[in-house]
Point group: C2
Chain length 450, copies 2
C-alpha cells in the first residue's frame, strides 16, 4: 500500500507561480504610511532589494527560481506527500486524505521556502544585514538559516513572550548566527515608546514588525524581511502546491478540497495558489483557509486598508484585518496571531474564491493528537488548524456517505512545541472566548485612505 | 549541482542484511545471568517474542522485511542522502563528503528503524505491552510511536537526569501514548534497591535496563525491547546502509571510509554492516566507529563477557565493556553513554575489521556548529561524533593532498537538544577528563564465565 509519494530530486520546480494575473480583479494599491499615497518602488527600496520589489508587483504568471536557490531547496525539497491511510481508517471515512509535509526542512517548517530566496536576492543586491521579526520563531529561525547560507548578518526581533517561552527556536537562530532581541526592546523608538507605556509588555507581532522596519530603514546596509503576508512571500511558497499537484498527478488523483492553516497567509498561499490557477481555468476545486477563533482575521475581520504593524510604520494594505492594534490572546499557535492577512488571500476570500473557517484551540489540539497517534508525525500547533479542517471535511464525507479527495498542508513539525502538547494532555489548555469587544475597539482605529 | 540523492519510494529495501554469516569467526554465546550457562531460545522467551529471538541467532544473510513494516517505513524511508558541498568548501578539502540523514523520521532519529519491526513482531506474537528503557529519549520516543502504531501498551523507564533535563522527548512519548517513569523508580526491586542506597540517584542506562527487564519478566503480557546492542536491532538498522549503497551507486560513487557514531552500536551498525559485507568479499573500504572519550567503550574497554545492565539481570555477552557498574559522566550525547557495546560491532573491532576512535565533547560540538552553519541541518549531539570523524578524515585528505570519498551517518536532528547548543555557544561546556580510575574500578567487577 503506497503511503508516500515522492518526486525525484531533479523535479524541484524551476519556476514559482504568481497568482496576480489570475486574480478576480485588479489588486488594490499599497499605501505609504507617511503620505497615504500609493507607494512607488522607490518608496520600498529602504525596505527591500529591487528584485523582491519587482516580484511584489509582477504581472508575470511564472517567475524563474534562481539556480542558487534551487540548490539549497534540495536540502528538503521536493518535500514528501503522504496518503493518510491510518487517519482515514481511524475516522472511518470514505474520503481520501493526502498531506504535503514541509517539516523536513532544516528549520522544521515551510518558512525556508521564502527565507532562502529573500536572502539570495538581498545578497546579490548588496545588502549586508537583514532585520526581521518573529513570533513563535519559525520565520526567525528560517531567515537566520538563510542569512547564514548567503553570508548575511541577521537581527531578529522576537516577540518577548515567545523569547521566554520558546527558547529552542531562539537557540536555533543563535546557532545559525543571528542576533535575537526580545521585543519590545530599547533598540528602537517604537520599542522604547511601548516600554515607556507598558514596561511589562509581552510584545506582539505588530510591535516586533515596527521595530524591525525601523531598524532596517535607519541603516544603509540593512534591509527588512517579512515571512508572510507580502505577495513575494506567497509567490515563493507556491513551490509547495506546485509539487503537490505533480505528486497527486503521479497517483492519478486530484483534490476536491485543498486546505491550509492561515496566519499571515504564506503557508496557505503556498498550497492553495497553484490550485487557484486551476480554478481560474474552470477546474472544480474548493480552497479552504483555517484560522484560529481567537484571531479570526478572515472570518470576523473587515476587508479594508490597514497598517501592517502596530506603530504605523509598515505600508498600509487592503486586506482582512482585526485592526492594527488588536492584541490576540496568547494561543499556542503563535504563528497564527496576526491582525492582518495577505492582501492576495484577502482578495480571494472577499471574491468568494477561497473559503475561510475559524476553529477553537482545543479542537485543533484534539485533531493534532489523533494525527500524531495515527500518522506518527507530530504537527506544529499552527498546522493543527489545517488538520482540523481536513478531519471535519472527512467526517462530513462520512456523514454524507460521499467519496471526497482532501489535500492539506502540514506546514511543520511540533518537536519544539512539546510544552503545548503537555499542557493539552494535562487538561491545562482552555479555549479563549471570541474577543468581540477588543476587535470592535481596534477596528475603530483603521486609517482613512483615498 | 546535485546535493540530494533520493531513492524512489518503491525502492525501500525488501530485506535486511544480517552480518553474522560474514563475521571473521563464530559469535561467542550469550550467557544466562542466573545460570552462567549459554542461553537457549526458551530462556529468552520471557523477554522477546520468538521471531526476534530467531533473528538474534539467524545465520541467514538476508531476512525479509514484513510488508506491514515497510508500509510504516514509508513515513521517512527511503531516507535522503546528501553531498556536503558547502561543508567541503568550508574545509577546503579535496575529499567528497556524503551523509545519510535519518532525522526525517517522526521521532527525529534512526531509532524507529528497529522500533517499528520490534513492535510488529511483538504484536503478531501476542504481546500486549512493552517495557523498555531510554537514556536521552530517542529510543523511548521511537518505541512509543511504534507501540501506538500497532496498538500495544508501552512503559518507558527513562534515566532520571534526562527525564528532568530533556522534557521534550518525554512529552513525545506521552503524546504517543506511553507511560514514562523516571528511573530509578519504586516500581521495581532493582529501582528500590538503588533508591535505598542512593535516594538522590540520577539513574543510568544500566539501571533503567534492569528496571525494564524486571518489569517485563514479571508480567505475562509484557515483553522487553532494547533499542541498541542486540543482533536483531543491528539487523533492522542495516536498512540505512543498504539504501546508502544504492544511493552512492546512483551517483557512480563508493566510499573510501564509512563513519558512524557509536553508543550501543545500532546506528553505527546500520550504516556500516552493508559495507562490511563488501569488505568480506574483498572490496577496499574502511569502517570507522566514533565514540565519546568520556565513555570510550571500544577504544579503552576490554573485550570480555559482561552484563548488559547494572543489576545483573540482563544476559551476559562478550563485548567491549567498561564494566557494568561504570557510570559515565553526564555528557550531552546521552545516547552514547553505555558501558557496553554491540557484540557484533565488538567482534569486528576486535578482529581489526572496524576501526574505532574516541573524541572529546567540545571537538564534537565545534564540528556540529560548523555543520549546522554550512549544511543547515542541526545534528543531534550523538550524531556530532560522526561529523567530527568525517571532518577529521576530510582535513587529513587536505593535508595529504589526496582525493577521498567519505560517507557518514547523520543519525538524527538536534531540535530538541538546543539547550546543549546554548551551553556550548555560551562557553559553559567543558571536556571531561578521561575517567581512567572509574573504568579501572568497574573493570574489576566483570563476571567469570566458562
Amino acid at each position: 500500500m503506497q503511503t508516500k509519494i515522492l518526486l525525484p530530486e531533479d523535479r524541484i520546480p524551476k519556476q514559482w507561480y504568481n497568482v496576480i494575473p489570475d486574480l478576480p480583479g485588479p489588486l488594490a494599491p499599497v499605501i505609504h504610511p507617511g503620505t497615504m499615497q500609493p507607494v512607488t518602488p522607490d518608496d520600498l527600496l529602504p525596505l527591500f532589494p529591487m528584485p523582491l520589489i519587482e516580484q511584489e508587483v509582477s504581472q508575470q504568471r511564472w517567475i524563474d527560481i534562481p539556480e542558487a536557490v534551487r540548490e539549497i531547496y534540495q536540502l528538503w525539497r521536493p518535500a514528501p506527500m503522504f496518503r493518510a491511510h491510518r487517519l482515514e481508517k481511524a475516522l472511518g471515512t470514505p474520503a481520501k486524505i493526502y498531506y504535503k509535509y514541509e517539516g523536513t526542512s532544516p528549520a522544521g517548517s515551510h518558512k525556508p521556502n521564502s527565507a532562502i530566496p529573500q536572502a539570495y536576492y538581498n545578497k546579490i543586491s548588496g545588502t549586508k544585514r537583514i532585520a526581521t521579526e518573529t513570533g513563535a520563531g519559525q520565520w526567525g529561525s528560517s531567515i537566520a538559516l538563510a542569512c547564514q547560507m548567503f553570508g548575511l548578518e541577521c537581527t531578529v526581533y522576537m516577540v518577548k513572550v515567545s523569547f521566554n517561552q520558546k527558547p529552542y527556536r531562539k537557540s536555533m537562530m543563535q546557532l545559525w548566527g543571528a542576533e535575537v532581541i526580545p521585543s519590545p526592546s530599547n533598540r528602537t523608538n517604537s520599542g522604547r515608546s511601548i516600554l515607556a507605556e507598558h514596561p511589562e509588555s509581552n510584545g506582539s507581532l505588530g510591535i516586533a514588525i515596527s521595530e524591525a522596519v525601523e531598524d532596517a530603514v535607519s541603516r544603509e546596509d540593512t534591509r527588512y524581511a517579512l515571512g508572510s503576508v507580502l505577495n513575494h512571500v506567497c509567490l515563493h511558497q507556491t513551490i509547495i502546491g506546485l509539487e503537490a499537484k505533480e505528486q497527486m498527478a503521479l497517483v492519478g488523483d486530484y483534490p476536491d478540497v485543498v486546505i491550509g492553516c492561515h496566519g499571515g497567509g504564506s503557508n496557505f498561499a503556498g498550497i492553495a495558489f497553484p490550485f487557484i490557477a486551476d480554478k481560474a481555468s474552470g477546474k472544480k476545486v474548493r480552497v479552504l483557509a483555517m484560522e484560529p477563533l481567537s484571531c479570526p482575521t478572515l472570518t470576523r475581520g473587515v476587508y479594508a486598508f490597514d497598517y501592517g504593524d502596530t506603530a504605523k510604520m509598515a505600508p498600509v494594505a487592503k486586506m482582512y484585518t482585526l485592526g492594527h492594534d488588536f492584541m490576540p490572546p496568547g494561543i499556542h499557535a503563535g504563528g497564527l496571531r496576526y491582525h492582518g492577512a495577505s492582501p492576495l488571500v484577502s482578495q480571494l476570500v472577499h471574491a468568494g474564491v477561497v473559503e475561510a473557517k475559524a476553529v477553537a484551540q482545543l479542537a485543533c489540539f484534539e485533531a493534532a493528537v489523533l494525527f500524531s497517534r495515527t500518522e506518527g508525525i507530530i504537527p506544529a500547533p499552527e498546522s493543527s488548524h489545517a488538520i482540523r479542517g481536513a478531519i471535519d471535511e472527512a467526517l462530513q464525507a462520512k456523514e454524507e456517505g460521499k467519496e471526497k479527495t482532501i489535500l492539506f498542508n502540514l506546514s511543520g513539525h511540533g518537536h519544539v512545541d512539546m510544552a503545548a502538547y503537555d499542557d493539552f494532555l494535562a487538561g491545562h489548555l482552555t479555549d479563549y472566548e471570541y474577543p468581540a469587544e477588543a476587535i470592535k475597539e481596534s477596528l475603530a482605529h483603521l486609517p482613512k485612505v483615498g
